[in-house]
Symmetry: C2
Subunit: 470 residues, 2 copies
């Protein structure tokens, strides 16, 4: 297709370009040609926004952007009006081998074919823009090696936090900082569930059903609910923040299955909101990474992140505290991130100036959760009689855990009805103990001690409070 002869079905940019140069011999700048791999929610969203805002987008980058191939699995599936039907193909090989393709946008997901195509494109010197967190978290090393080999750029803003521009912020805007902590609400499904539990007093099961009905949770919600999705995103962010390769094996991952409506309600009354936080820290040259339910003070900006929104809180030596908030998923927000990357790729294309490359140039030791100091919220089921607290306090004391505050259930009324109950051995009550900051391994020693205590009928919950300096 000649870019100078407008015809029915030709992309709008080509038509406009042809109109602009008329029949004269002054061609505009060469268009950048894009192969889109995958045209589901994300790929379709990208084409929708690109078509809608094309005039402004091309004016900003100074040259046309042509979609050259739209690679799909099923060419017969009906697509939206933004998808140019004549470009739809199942031939990924052809698209990747096309020497006219400058940029490959990968919107397939998964680590099978997507990874293979990304590597092939990079080795061939094509810029890659990807929304694939699995590839970036689990195969970062291969991807960067392929980029290096091909002298190509890889962009992945959309892999973390949907439309939130956190990757670029860490790689460029905050690059002069020594970052000491990243704390994120990186999974919209679990944040939606916890919001329902907080606002409506829903149980975890009811909140999950609501999330599924609202289209936020998959039929199999484990990757979200068990914290794995957040952990992968944390790996990606931490790699950039601390200039070190971070792997899933180094993340302590706890999902929200252990969070009950009772704990959400107790926390609320004590001034905290329960959030699934993904936290990484660099301290004395050592890195820790963890995902777990966390009690956040209600006045903290992270506590105001509701429903399916995501946010990333960054603490650095120059910036102090900063937070980036927005939609962590969805067709259009993800398209926003891909477009920002694509526009940068287009601006740089052909100039020989690379985008910021892999910055994992340090090797740093990682510590497990045992070394992490936290304040803890411990909810115990105890016989409602004199002397119990003294025995429990004794166990904490002998483990070197200092108690900050104690609350007895009957004085509270949580929706799920904790408080006074009758056990086999008489009435029982909730006892909530909040500790001073203590290393995790020491707290776990105390918990082990409580298990053998006759004065403890059950350990209902052990949750961590947000770091005091968050």
């Amino acid at each position: 297709m000649s870019t100078l002869s407008p015809r029915a079905g030709a992309p709008r940019a080509a038509r406009r370009r042809a109109a602009a140069v008329g029949g004269a011999s002054v061609p505009g700048p060469r268009p950048v040609r894009v192969a889109l791999l995958g045209c589901g929610t994300v790929g379709g969203g990208l084409l929708t926004v690109l078509e809608r805002n094309r005039a402004d987008i091309e004016r900003k980058v100074g040259r046309p952007i042509d979609i050259a191939h739209v690679v799909v699995r099923d060419a017969g599936k009906p697509r939206g009006p933004a998808v140019p039907a004549h470009l739809v193909t199942t031939r990924a090989d052809q698209a990747l081998a096309d020497p006219g393709v400058d940029v490959v946008v990968e919107a397939m997901g998964g680590t099978g074919a997507a990874l293979e195509y990304i590597l092939r494109a990079l080795r061939a010197g094509k810029t890659v823009v990807t929304a694939n967190k699995d590839v970036m978290a689990d195969h970062g090393r291969e991807v960067w090696a392929a980029a290096e080999a091909g002298g190509a750029d890889v962009y992945f803003e959309a892999a973390v936090g949907g439309g939130i521009p956190i990757v670029r912020a860490l790689k460029e805007s905050l690059a002069g900082n020594s970052v000491r902590r990243v704390a994120g609400i990186l999974n919209g499904t679990t944040n939606y569930m916890l919001t329902r539990m907080t606002r409506d007093g829903s149980s975890l099961e009811a909140a999950l059903a609501e999330a599924q009905a609202a289209g936020y949770a998959e039929a199999d919600p484990s990757a979200d609910v068990d914290g794995l999705d957040a952990a992968r995103k944390l790996c990606i962010l931490s790699s950039i923040a601390y200039s070190v390769r971070c792997r899933m094996a180094d993340v302590h991952v706890e999902g929200i299955r252990g969070v009950s409506a009772a704990d959400v309600a107790y926390a609320r009354r004590m001034g905290w909101t329960v959030k699934l936080l993904a936290i990484s820290e660099l301290r004395d040259g050592r890195v820790t990474m963890r995902v777990h339910p966390t009690l956040v003070p209600v006045a903290h900006p992270l506590a105001a992140v509701s429903d399916a929104f995501n946010a990333v809180y960054v603490q650095g030596d120059a910036i102090g505290d900063a937070m980036f908030y927005g939609s962590g998923a969805g067709a259009l927000p993800t398209a926003s991130a891909i477009l920002g990357d694509l526009m940068d790729a287009v601006r740089r294309h052909g100039t020989g100036v690379r985008q910021t490359e892999c910055t994992c140039f340090y090797r740093r030791p990682f510590d497990g959760i045992g070394a992490v100091p936290s304040r803890f919220y411990v909810r115990l089921l105890v016989p409602d009689r004199v002397g119990v607290l003294a025995k429990i306090a004794g166990v904490f004391g002998r483990s070197g855990v200092s108690i900050l505050s104690v609350l007895q259930g009957p004085t509270l009324a949580a929706p799920e009805g904790p408080g006074e109950r009758s056990g086999a051995a008489g009435p029982v009550a909730d006892l909530i103990i909040v500790t001073h900051e203590v290393r995790e391994d020491r707290l776990q020693r105390a918990i082990a001690g409580l298990r053998h205590l006759e004065a403890v009928a059950g350990i209902s919950a052990v949750l961590r409070l947000a770091p005091e300096d968050l």
Copy 2:
């Protein structure tokens, strides 16, 4: 000074570089040389962070950064340990004329000499990084023309929102969006004051005194308190967001002098927090810009922005809602923004690849505040007797203003003691009327009508609620 012969007093980077290459003939990449104009809070902060994180910073950008001149007004003034004494000079001319200087960092402030130096540097083809909101808001056209003439880049992340990377987010990450609204808390001083009034019930005067004592407010706080500082920043952000040159003359500016502790307390009870918002919108191709105290729902992320923090809320067609939060001022946060810009400038230096240029390529009509629809909070002082409400409602009705809710003062108890009082003509009370959304000019007509009503003893406050779709 040869970059290969280390000597006492030579910058650390030069020493390290020399050490790295030894006496051999393998020079590293040429350093980028920087002239720093101004070494007060901001300039000093920049040197502090640059020295502290120099190893990581230079590794990330791939080449050394040498400070070549530090231009000050008073060379005799004692400076911190991060300021290399042998580079301090009062000779701006010399620094700007130095052909070895690649980047000029302007940290002087004001629109006198600073503007002149910026223009001169750009015309000479030197990259400029500035923290100067006055220059960018009031002289944007000249600055961009000089940049164009010299083929140079101008960076100004630090001019808006201190360390918050909002300029780059709008220019690059969100560039694929059609932005429909920007709503920011862009002034830390007034946000600190409003936080004190909300949390402690302080009066405006007491809050101002606290802000001055805490070092947030100047002796003459007008630029902050009257909203001018926020308005300038709004001009800069709106210019980028809507690709149109925005001028101060097009901003409706109201500061917080009309906000009383009583209104803060009433608003709180009705579920709102008072914030000084700077809002701009693009609707049907027309732009509106305004700065005024605004009632924000307490659950909105902007309501959680406390103390001297700033935040910018952006609404676009792809991203949906996004918010950027952080320190809006201060030596180190501002240094963080300058460093991010400087690092990008260093990466691009010598490549011939420009940063995103001026994108004010549209001419769009601006509307005044009269055309802006809002819900309004109107507090009236009324005689406490039967029939008053009917008369007031009549005035609103005849002006075409629909009433959403009515609250009578005596049922509330605000700290400053609104509520029942005795006037000359008997007891008076606060009456608070909240309207449905209505154009500002129509609301003002109703207010004018109320002034002539015998049933209204005084109009105590007229405040706007945040847009319903914020």
